[in-house]
């Protein structure tokens, strides 16, 4: 090993110290060009908007549901936001309303009719037809067996107490009215809704 060699070696090493500056100058900066400032793409572009009402409390805030078709072509909710035109909520929403999208798309949404047989420890799928036929048959049998036409005084009372119906608290008036008609026409008196709880 001689001086010349070591001199070159020196350049190599000592150079490294200065390299920093020079490299920067030599344009590595450009190689690493910074992404230009930009904001996130506006995610509601190309969605359909639909006026709706929050299903939770009775303030009944106006909401706008933004939806977009999924791969199967079915329209899915991508975002929900308060309706600025609504006189009551003026576009605002509470922590529940603001998160409605994840209620609609909850993992625990029901997607098919299920039946749990007596004593069984699981739900098993059942077709709509079979489910509805079982229900209709159960109604008919119980009504025929327990319908009370008259009371002990012979007064016609036409009531049926061995079957009960709990109506919801968030279904539409239209659903409620149809439910009322069906339940009343059968003489069910054990009829209630969620007004109290």
């Amino acid at each position: 090993m001689n001086i010349d060699l070591s001199r070159r070696g020196f350049l190599k090493l000592a150079g490294a110290g200065v390299a920093a500056t020079s490299l920067g100058a030599m344009g590595f900066g450009k190689a690493e060009a910074a992404e230009l400032a930009h904001v996130r793409d506006f995610k509601l572009a190309q969605t359909t908007e639909t006026r709706n009402t929050c299903p939770y409390c009775s303030v009944a805030c106006g909401i706008i549901i933004y939806a977009r078709p999924d791969d199967t072509g079915a329209r899915r909710v991508v975002h929900i936001e308060g309706d600025a035109d609504h006189p009551t909520n003026r576009g605002t929403l509470c922590p529940k309303g603001a998160a409605l999208k994840d209620f609609v798309n909850a993992e625990t949404r029901l997607t098919e009719p299920m039946v749990r047989r007596p004593g069984s420890d699981r739900f098993e799928p059942i077709s709509w037809d079979e489910a509805l036929d079982r229900i209709a048959r159960a109604i008919k049998d119980d009504r025929d067996a327990n319908f009370l036409a008259t009371n002990e005084l012979g007064v016609p009372v036409n009531r049926w107490t061995t079957t009960g119906f709990l109506a919801a608290s968030a279904t539409t008036n239209e659903t409620a009215w149809l439910t009322y008609k069906v339940v009343r026409s059968m003489g069910i008196v054990g009829f209630d809704n969620q007004a109290r709880v």
């Binding site: 009551t88 003026r90 009960g164 608290s169 968030a170 008609k181 809704n193």
Partner: protein, 811 residues
């Protein structure tokens, strides 16, 4: 709500008592902050806990759960004693001057006519003195010792500030400060609004809590005026609608009622309902009852309902008990007397009092049908989830059918908000998987049952076979068709009753409003109060004009409000005897010499002269009732009653437990705890991060409030050696739960009747399905007893015990 959410901005003072508006109705509470910001309004909160509503209040006072009546009667006493009374209003618009029967009285916490055996009152003495002319006797000078005003004065006399403190635990100075603030609103130009919710209803005397405040509001002249009223903040988005539509055992849409066995025929039924006015010249709106009832029968059974068959009156069931409410049904279920039960978007396992009883009751059903967009604990009541639902699955013989339904985003129709606005909404997305509309499901069930009856015959098939079902697609009745059906239509040409030649609505067309309904079978209407919501002008519930010319938050052209698009009930009372607004700066309607005009639809015939016709046309008296006669089971005046489970005895009568006339089933009596075993008062409530038992399915809300906890004071925590964030066991006579402990300054011990009372706050929202951590609802602990009048369970005041939990959480 007598007023609307947006009307709250017109108020000068908000009292939130028996509710927690900021947490349970945040966007409605906006109008309180608006009133504070723009009108300088003040906010008072009276609550056992320092809630998030209290955090923005101007004044807060604590109160022992279940003692609101004492507080309210104390306030009324203060108003009378300090002349904080809107006299003109009280004299003209209330029954203050009416004379009451000599026999009526109150002693030992009980009114006259109590029968301990029957646990009921003989109410015959709770009535006015009626003169020979059939109208009641009055003393406009309010001098007569038997006039309502003097009886009220005597009744509230016992509720001195000292007594209020003794019963409620509210320090006198706080009580008096609040009384003073409220007193200012007796001025005709100052208004207070009351915002309450289940904090008042979920008691064995819930209805009386509300009456207490209603009476105070009448004394201050605050009913019917902008920024005033009694505002019940309904809990769910359409519970107002379901109540309007009478989805209850004893109701017919529009607050008509199902007959009882004592009304075997149409005539008897009608006799007890078409009320006669008790004042000369007064209108009693219920005189139209037959028109609404016949139109309802026609819309149900069409051709099958004819005059000669009493409009098919026999198709209606007749009740043998006041109501087959939810509590009664579960009691019957538990006795094995119910076989088949339907839950449509309802989760009774967690929603109804005494969870253990619910489980045992459901286990005795033959079949349970659940229709819901989401998993519910009820649908899985048979599934073992360790301590969270410790059941013996194999021994449960109930067949459960779970049907997936649409949710709000996927369907179309109207929801009724707390302010009675019917707001239409539209379908935004498609249902997941095989989910179906509830309307489709109900139609399928009905059509199948009808088919079975057609084929096989069976028990009294007529009401089923003849039910009107004239929908374009009988399998899928459309929201549009159903809405039109509720509004009602003319079956034959409808003429003006005054001028028989004047055609109002031609046969087959939608009626304009319930004014066109007839009792001769020429009109059909499913729900008279909704008449006008969908007439020939189209679907008024879908209107979206948010202009507000008066600037008073009326929004008359935004959707539609019942009745007749009226936004403020009793608004006639917002004007004085001459028909001029009490507060000229806040006019809603005024008498222009010929008719009523203004920003809102008058709640009276537009031509009814002020002074001649009184404002409260739904009452026979034409005026409001400080004394409610026999209309409530537990008294014409509110009187202090302890909760069924209470740390102290009733100061008026130590033998009295809870509400003396509330219905208690034998099986539940031994399930009542006493304060020596369960020393602490528990109360249940919602948290703003969650909605009932739904949002625990929502990842976001589960994140914001992930796990079941109970709130206790630092003092109780110290006493029991409980650490913040530690696990505790809370148990009552009916069950036990484990929870995290949230130790806070926001709950402080109270001194009631010389005794230190600790409150344990128990939020609902957790169960064993969903995205949040598994937990329990308060109903594992709550008593199975309801309000004496409407059977709302006593969720807000009961007894528990608490201790640090040993061992780890089981899940």
């Amino acid at each position: 709500m007598t007023n609307s959410w947006t009307d709250i901005k017109n108020t000068d003072l908000v009292i939130v008592m028996g509710g927690n508006a900021a947490e349970a109705h945040p966007c409605g509470f906006k109008w309180v902050t608006e009133a504070k910001h723009h009108r300088g309004a003040k906010l008072i909160v009276v609550d056992p806990r320092f809630t998030r509503t209290a955090s923005v209040s101007d004044y807060y006072a604590p109160i022992r759960p279940g003692t609101d009546i004492a507080f309210l009667m104390g306030l009324i006493r203060y108003m009378i004693e300090n002349d904080r009374v809107q006299w003109e209003y009280v004299k003209a618009f209330t029954n203050a001057s009416f004379l009451v029967k000599e026999e009526f009285g109150w002693s030992d916490g009980l009114f006259t006519g109590y029968d301990e055996e029957k646990r009921d009152y003989d109410k015959s003495s709770w009535d006015y003195q009626i003169g020979p002319d059939g109208y009641m006797l009055t003393d406009p000078t309010l001098q007569h010792p038997r006039c309502v005003w003097n009886l009220l004065k005597a009744h509230v006399d016992v509720y001195t500030p000292e007594m209020v403190e003794r019963i409620t635990g509210t320090p006198q100075d706080r009580f008096l400060k609040i009384a003073e603030m409220i007193g200012e609103c007796s001025s005709p130009t100052k208004t207070m609004t009351s915002m309450y919710a289940l904090g008042w209803t979920q008691h064995s005397k819930g209805a009386q809590n509300i009456r207490g405040m209603a009476m105070l509001q009448l004394i201050l002249g605050n009913i019917g005026v902008p920024g005033g009223g009694m505002n019940a903040l309904r809990g769910h988005s359409n519970i107002q609608g379901l109540t309007d539509l009478g989805l209850m055992s004893n109701l017919i849409p529009g607050y008509l009622n199902i007959p009882t066995e004592k009304e075997p025929d149409w005539a008897t039924y009608m006799k007890s309902r078409a009320f006669k006015p008790l004042l000369p010249g007064q209108t009693s709106y219920w005189q139209n009852y037959p028109k609404f009832m016949v139109s309802f029968m026609k819309s149900m059974w069409g051709e099958a309902a004819q005059k000669d068959n009493d409009w098919a009156y026999h198709y209606l069931p007749k009740l043998d008990v006041p109501a087959y409410d939810m509590l009664r049904m579960f009691e019957l279920m538990d006795q094995g007397r119910v076989n088949l039960y339907f839950c449509q978007g309802f989760n009774p396992l967690l929603a109804l009092a005494n969870r253990n009883k619910n489980t045992s009751a459901l286990s005795k059903l033959k079949m349970l049908v659940v229709m819901d967009p989401l998993e519910t604990e009820t649908a899985r009541f048979w599934e073992n989830h360790g301590a969270y639902n410790d059941v013996d699955t194999a021994s449960i013989q109930t067949e459960v059918i779970q049907l997936p339904t649409s949710c709000f985003a996927e369907d179309e129709g109207a929801l009724v908000n707390s302010g009675r606005w019917l707001q239409w909404h539209w379908k935004a997305s498609d249902m997941p998987g095989q989910a179906k509309y509830d309307t489709w499901i109900m139609a399928q069930i009905f059509l199948r049952v009808r088919e079975l009856y057609r084929k096989e015959g069976g028990a009294f098939p007529d009401p089923i076979l003849n039910l009107t079902w004239d929908y374009a697609d009988e399998h899928e009745p459309s929201p549009d068709e159903l809405a039109r059906e509720m509004n009602g239509r003319a079956l034959a040409d409808v003429y003006d009753l005054a001028d028989k030649t004047k055609l109002l609505t031609a046969a087959g067309r939608q009626v304009k409003s319930f004014a066109e309904l007839r009792d001769d079978g020429t009109t059909a209407s499913g729900c008279w109060i909704y008449s006008g919501s969908y007439n020939e002008d189209g679907n008024n519930m879908a209107r979206r004009d948010n202009s507000d010319p008066s600037g008073m938050g009326v929004y008359s052209n935004w959707t539609w409000s019942w009745p007749l698009n009226r936004r403020t009930l009793y608004n006639r009372a917002s004007a004085d005897l001459q028909g001029q607004p009490w507060d000229p700066s806040r006019p809603i309607i005024a008498w222009n010499g010929e008719r009523w005009e203004g920003n809102d639809i008058p709640d009276i015939s537009p031509t009814a002269k002020p002074g001649e016709v009184m404002p409260f046309i739904m009452n026979q008296e034409g005026v409001s009732r400080l004394f409610s006669r026999g209309m409530m089971r537990d008294g014409p005046f509110p009187t202090h009653m302890e909760p069924f489970e209470s740390p102290v005895q009733n100061v008026f009568n130590d033998r009295m437990r809870g509400n003396p006339v509330a219905r208690v089933f034998a099986s539940d009596v031994e399930k009542m705890g006493t304060s020596d075993e369960f020393p602490f008062v528990a109360t249940s409530y919602r948290l703003t991060e969650h909605f009932h038992y739904w949002t625990k399915h929502n990842k976001v809300n589960a994140t914001l409030q992930p796990e079941f906890f109970v709130e206790i004071s630092e003092q109780l925590a110290a006493e029991k050696g409980i650490e913040r964030g530690g696990r505790v066991r809370v148990w009552s006579k009916r069950g036990e739960v484990w929870a995290k402990a949230l130790v806070t300054k926001r709950i402080k011990p109270m001194i009631c009747d010389g005794k230190t009372v600790h409150v344990v706050g128990i939020p609902l929202h957790w169960g064993f399905v969903g995205a949040a951590k598994k937990g329990w609802g308060p109903n594992s602990l709550t008593p199975f007893v309801g309000d004496a009048n409407i059977e709302t369970p006593e969720f807000k005041a009961f007894l528990v015990n608490i201790e640090p939990a040993v061992g780890e959480a089981v899940s």
